[in-house]
């Protein structure tokens, strides 16, 4: 039967990370491998009340088919928050509600990528984007991620060479934790406009800043409308599968067509509960709580790494988000280290899957959002021990 699969399936595989998560299901293992928000912070009681309110007030409408574009009330709230929180003017009619922000990547790939098109991504890059785009058989062009954003020479070279699209996570990137500086944001926007490259700005973590100043989106500096992506997964809860995008009219219409074909519309139930939750709760103070907790955990992890990791290991200290990136000396394999570490009951994600060019062998991603202080201390101690053994 395998000869009947489409050609595109030859190049994609199950998410390596999701496979790792199965190994780490054992509760004795301290896992920094996942990318999960901390469930202790999910607003369970408020969602319960919101759900009851929805069924009591709008009843059957919450259970019926609804528009592909998304709930009008929810889109109005998203637009208002862009204004209030980011100072960004966004027309609710330019917002498309999606089945998680992962779906945006699938829709963008469908609407824009012909086989062989050059798509620029960061090196290391977000695995979900690599997976979604790969199914449409682009040629990936990668640009180095430096501590303040992409290498601009590489980026311009890629654009000059006919890139169609640049996919970027400018705030607390997954996996690296890197945040683009203000200067690089402006420079990237100027290059995008100069070369007419489609920009996809993915921003699931932007509101989770623990230190430093919020920076404007690159979207806000661009003359040509790109696609700005947002998500409720990190500021409320991922189990709803609710994301959204903002874009210009022409692109919007094409994405709506692709979404109709993909799943008709995003769950009416999920959208209705989220809308009511937002209408009846103070999401801003909830986000502040998440920032405080994750910021604390991030601080513990950085401190413990300095205490327990061999000095040959360098890290990028993130200003927000959920991930910390570590680099071991050249020639050291984090894939091999993983096998050693798992015996000491600690897990992380080896960096190589984030590099489409097969490099990144000596890197790793550590998640700090989903472990408390005690587990972070113990886990980093174990991992430091594994690395030290391994380096010998």
């Amino acid at each position: 039967m395998s000869n009947t699969f489409a050609r595109r399936m030859g190049t994609v595989h199950r998410s390596f990370i999701r496979e790792i998560l199965k190994v780490t299901a054992n509760p004795e293992i301290i896992s920094f491998a996942g990318g999960l928000p901390n469930p202790e912070l999910f607003p369970v009681a408020a969602m319960d009340t919101a759900a009851h309110g929805v069924f009591a007030e709008i009843g059957a409408s919450a259970l019926q088919y609804s528009t592909t574009e998304g709930d009008a009330g929810l889109r109005a709230i998203i637009a208002k928050r862009y204004k209030d929180v980011r100072g960004l003017d966004v027309d609710p009619d330019s917002i498309l509600v999606t089945t998680g922000s992962q779906q945006i990547l699938d829709l963008v790939a469908k609407v824009f990528i012909d086989r062989g098109d050059k798509i620029v991504i960061e090196r290391p890059g977000y695995l979900g984007a690599i997976q979604a785009f790969s199914l449409f058989e682009p040629e990936f062009v990668t640009v180095s991620l430096e501590p303040d954003g992409p290498n601009l020479d590489e980026l311009e070279a890629a654009f000059r060479d006919g890139a169609k699209c640049f996919y970027s996570v400018p705030n607390f990137q997954n996996p690296s934790g890197v945040t683009y500086s203000l200067e690089k944001r402006k420079a990237v926007a100027a290059l995008l406009d100069k070369y007419g490259v489609l920009f996809v700005e993915d921003d699931p973590y932007g509101e989770l800043r623990f230190m430093g100043e919020d920076l404007p989106s690159i979207y806000s500096f661009c003359k040509n409308p790109g696609i700005l992506c947002g998500s409720f997964s990190k500021i409320a809860a991922p189990g709803f599968r609710l994301g959204w995008l903002v874009t210009g009219k022409e692109v919007y219409d094409k994405l709506v067509i692709a979404k109709q074909a993909a799943d008709l519309h995003t769950s009416t139930v999920a959208q209705s509960i989220m809308r009511r939750y937002l209408e009846t709760n103070d999401i801003e103070s909830h986000v502040a709580l998440i920032r405080e907790r994750y910021g604390y955990q991030r601080g513990v992890m950085v401190e413990m790494i300095k205490r327990y990791f061999p000095s040959e290991v360098s890290i990028i200290e993130p200003e927000g988000g959920m991930f910390l990136w570590a680099t071991m000396p050249e020639g050291v394999s984090s894939m091999d280290l993983f096998d050693v570490a798992i015996k000491d009951k600690v897990a992380f994600v080896p960096g190589r899957p984030f590099y489409v060019d097969g490099t990144g062998e000596n890197t790793m991603r550590l998640n700090f959002s989903n472990s408390d202080e005690g587990r972070i201390e113990e886990g980093i101690k174990r991992l430091g021990r594994s690395i030290a053994t391994f380096l010998k």
Copy 2:
């Protein structure tokens, strides 16, 4: 900017039906155009209780990321219902929960369709499938739908000619209302096995039979595992966007990869509420209620058509489902009739969009699930008047 869209976007358009639904939003218009279940039958109070139960019992887990395959408890219930209701043995591990059954069509297209592959569909065919498949640029081959199923000579000719896949809705098909006879089911299965064609059996309406006997799925007659599709949209509520597929191991694994890339997993919230609803309510008596109501409405529509439609119009009397199919004399355009009818404040779906070959000009689809007796009588009267005026 339009020159940057992918080639595949040139062949697809917004759903004509969804555009019609905007015209019919006016409550003065009696609309037989939609494909909506009757919201009066949605189990609102039971879903409210189920949602509260979920938040009280599993709390944060219902809001977290979850597996791509879907909730294990929900899959067990789906498998049990296949056994209890259909007498079909289905392994829960062969079930993939999807974001509505529309998503299955997108995933199947991704996993199987290379540009130019021959995909066999019914004529008329389900619009959602035509849309989802079109994005992957197949060559559609259509087979005539007769009152007892597809024309077998045409089907064999298409299979012999190298068809890769046959997509079919054997129970109360959308749009035609046609149900395959037992003989044709067996014959189709034999042809599928003989030619090694992938079978996608879409069955959203199978449980909504008002008269006659339930017939086994074609899937149950096939030696090679195809893909059997199901949905909660018509037996519970569509607003959850919950569907599922059943298939063999090799195909399953590929579909899981495609689903990971599409939206990671189906909404945990939606799956948890549906599971609890099914665990704590008698879905079988709920489905019996839907069958009774729709069956009554279908009877009224058939009777009123016989009373008010000109005799030149022929119909297929469906044994279940949500749709009734009418054919006017050759040369009469239901697109033109639509403009006349809408002035008399009654709407339907012209049949042409269901024909990829551009025929079907003289056909129309009428929905009976979402109008009560009074509106069906008045609407069919108006439509009969419009047709009579038009035929003159």
